[in-house]
């Protein structure tokens, strides 16, 4: 297993009003991975990031980053972490390039115009470097926030809802940027409630709800464990029962026998293969069908299922 870059143990945060945002969170992040932290609004995602980056005082537990305690060695740790917050929070009247230089300086690094140029070009901001931030579009402003966080070349980057409120095209563009960062060796923790984002980007996924981590695993393992394929065969003639040669498959009939439904597989493609085999078998058995609709379960289905299961247990 790659060495952990972040190790969170028993992290707790209770706010002044008594709201317990984190209830003993344990989480280990591996160097070089993209980790997606999923959860509904108010699940504790931002508090978890805030506690790691120094914005929130935890009320219990410990956080180690790069093998260092984040409270004792806060300077060393913070110098190596970058944070892109949810809000577009910066001096909107300032120029793009000045704000990026400011961020680099604040993190204690020498001015490096070549590096600033590289960051701005990578984020397609170079042409806008002398524009006031307030004049930019929402997507461009978000890129400025990323440029500021990258100005000191962090080893660990937190992206708190990086594509919230961003249109589809820009979201895909942002994913490319994140991928490029991973290629440079940056470890990335992103929070999102767009499951598609986690599915597209992440190596591992964690699900948090009401201050508790419900699940942490490799994305592919989660899909294999909890994922499934659903296929609907529309039959020319209704069937009364599942024919014996098809009994080995997880099938049932719907719509008065006119629709044969397969629900199985493991989210890694095994289901698709079975559906293909099933189609061949139907032809062999001379069971005519006029259409097939298949659907792979997504992380969203898994996520919703997990939350529902928890609620049922609690009830």
């Amino acid at each position: 297993m790659p060495e952990p870059i972040l190790d969170i143990r028993g992290l707790e945060k209770t706010y002044k009003g008594g709201v317990q945002a984190l209830k003993g969170v344990d989480l280990t992040i591996r160097r070089g991975e993209i980790f997606a932290l999923l959860g509904p609004n108010g699940a504790g995602k931002t508090t978890l990031i805030g506690a790691t980056c120094g914005l929130v005082n935890p009320t219990g537990g410990s956080i180690e980053a790069f093998g260092l305690d984040t409270r004792k060695h806060w300077r060393e740790v913070r110098a190596r972490i970058g944070l892109v917050p949810q809000e577009l929070a910066t001096d909107m009247f300032d120029k793009v390039i000045r704000q990026v230089r400011y961020s680099r300086g604040m993190f204690g690094l020498k001015p490096d115009e070549a590096r600033i140029e590289e960051v701005l070009k990578a984020l397609s901001l170079w042409d806008k470097r002398d524009a006031a931030i307030r004049e930019l579009s929402g997507g461009m402003k978000r890129r400025v926030m990323i440029a500021k966080a990258l100005a000191h070349d962090p080893e660990l980057l937190f992206l708190d809802e990086p594509t919230a409120g961003v249109d589809v095209e820009l979201r895909r563009d942002m994913w490319k940027q994140i991928d490029a960062l991973r290629a440079r060796g940056t470890t990335i923790i992103l929070t999102t409630h767009y499951i598609e984002e986690a599915q597209e980007m992440a190596d591992r996924v964690g699900v948090i709800n009401k201050g508790e981590i419900l699940l942490v695993d490799d994305k592919d393992a989660i899909m294999a464990q909890l994922g499934s394929t659903e296929a609907h065969f529309t039959l020319e003639s209704a069937l009364a029962d599942i024919p014996a040669p098809l009994a080995q498959y997880p099938l049932h009939l719907e719509d008065d026998g006119k629709r044969l439904v397969y629900r199985g597989g493991d989210g890694t493609g095994a289901g698709k293969r079975e559906v293909a085999d099933l189609a061949k078998l139907l032809v062999q058995q001379q069971i005519a069908f006029t259409g097939i609709e298949t659907r792979e379960s997504t992380l969203e289905d898994i996520f919703v299922g997990l939350l529902e299961d928890r609620q049922e247990v609690a009830a």
Binding site: Y15, W74, R75, R78, D91, R98, G105, M106, K110
Partner: protein
């Protein structure tokens, strides 16, 4: 290991704050200079020419240190309070809290920039004053030292105010309801000899009275209070502000949730 000083971080904050000041230089400089010039015209030239000397000093020259102090206190306080309050208001404070900068770098950056801005405005006001009144500075080096000390003290105070404030109203309430009255009643326009009792005694519990008189001594050699007392009280005020700010950063009060 978390003890080294991030000088580049302190410089980055200082530079950013100064750039912000120069971005709005017209409003930042013209407004206080115009206001103070009006005081010089009304109290220095128009009324001052008909006033008797105060302790052997022409009235126009007598009010120069007081008016300078009035501007210094107002500008230092507002520069520093807005400097730290705005990132709190916009949310940009996240960067400061997540950066490897501690209380020393933050104070040097924000308070240093606020004090520098006040010193620039003070220099312009002193030059402008020569257009309206004749004055000289008896102890120029001490005057400079005292002005720098007061600018630092009230920039620290303004920084505290900005940390404490959770709305624009709170940001303006202390300068408006406390500082301005204390400055006007602190001997800006008069000597304590000119007041009847009990006002003559009451004015001595006003801390700004000592500040104005300390500065007046460096300008005219005349003061209602011993100069050592004025310096001492200003230094004590600086120490109190620094200690409070250090406590705020340690506990995260009004900064970290």
């Amino acid at each position: 290991m978390s003890s080294y000083m991030n000088w580049r971080g302190a410089y980055a904050i200082l530079r950013n704050e100064l750039l912000r000041f120069f971005r709005t230089a017209f409003g930042s400089i013209v407004s206080p200079v115009l206001t103070t010039s009006l005081y010089f015209i009304v109290f220095g030239s128009a009324i001052g020419s008909r006033m008797a000397e105060v302790n052997g000093v022409p009235y126009g020259a007598f009010i120069v240190p007081g008016l300078l102090m009035l501007t210094l206190l107002a500008e230092s306080t507002s520069n520093a309070s807005f400097g730290i309050y705005m990132p709190k208001f916009t949310g940009a404070i996240y960067e400061l809290l997540s950066a490897p900068v501690g209380v020393a770098e933050t104070v040097i950056g924000f308070v240093g920039a606020a004090a520098l801005k006040s010193l620039i405005i003070s220099a312009i006001i002193l030059v402008t004053a020569t257009l309206f009144v004749d004055y000289s500075i008896a102890h120029p080096v001490l005057a400079l030292g005292y002005i720098v000390l007061v600018a630092a003290a009230f920039s620290l105070f303004g920084f505290l105010l900005g940390l404490w404030a959770d709305g624009f109203e709170k940001l303006s309430i202390i300068p408006m309801l406390v500082l301005t009255p204390l400055t006007f009643l602190g001997g800006t326009f008069y000597s304590v000899d000119m007041l009847d009792e009990p006002w003559g005694t009451l004015v001595q519990v006003n801390p700004v009275f000592y500040l104005v008189n300390g500065l007046r001594w460096t300008f005219t050699g005349q003061s209602d209070v011993p100069i050592a007392l004025a310096f001492g009280m200003t230094l004590a005020f600086v120490a109190l502000c620094v200690a409070t700010i250090a406590w705020i950063f340690k506990t995260g009060w009004r900064l970290r949730e």
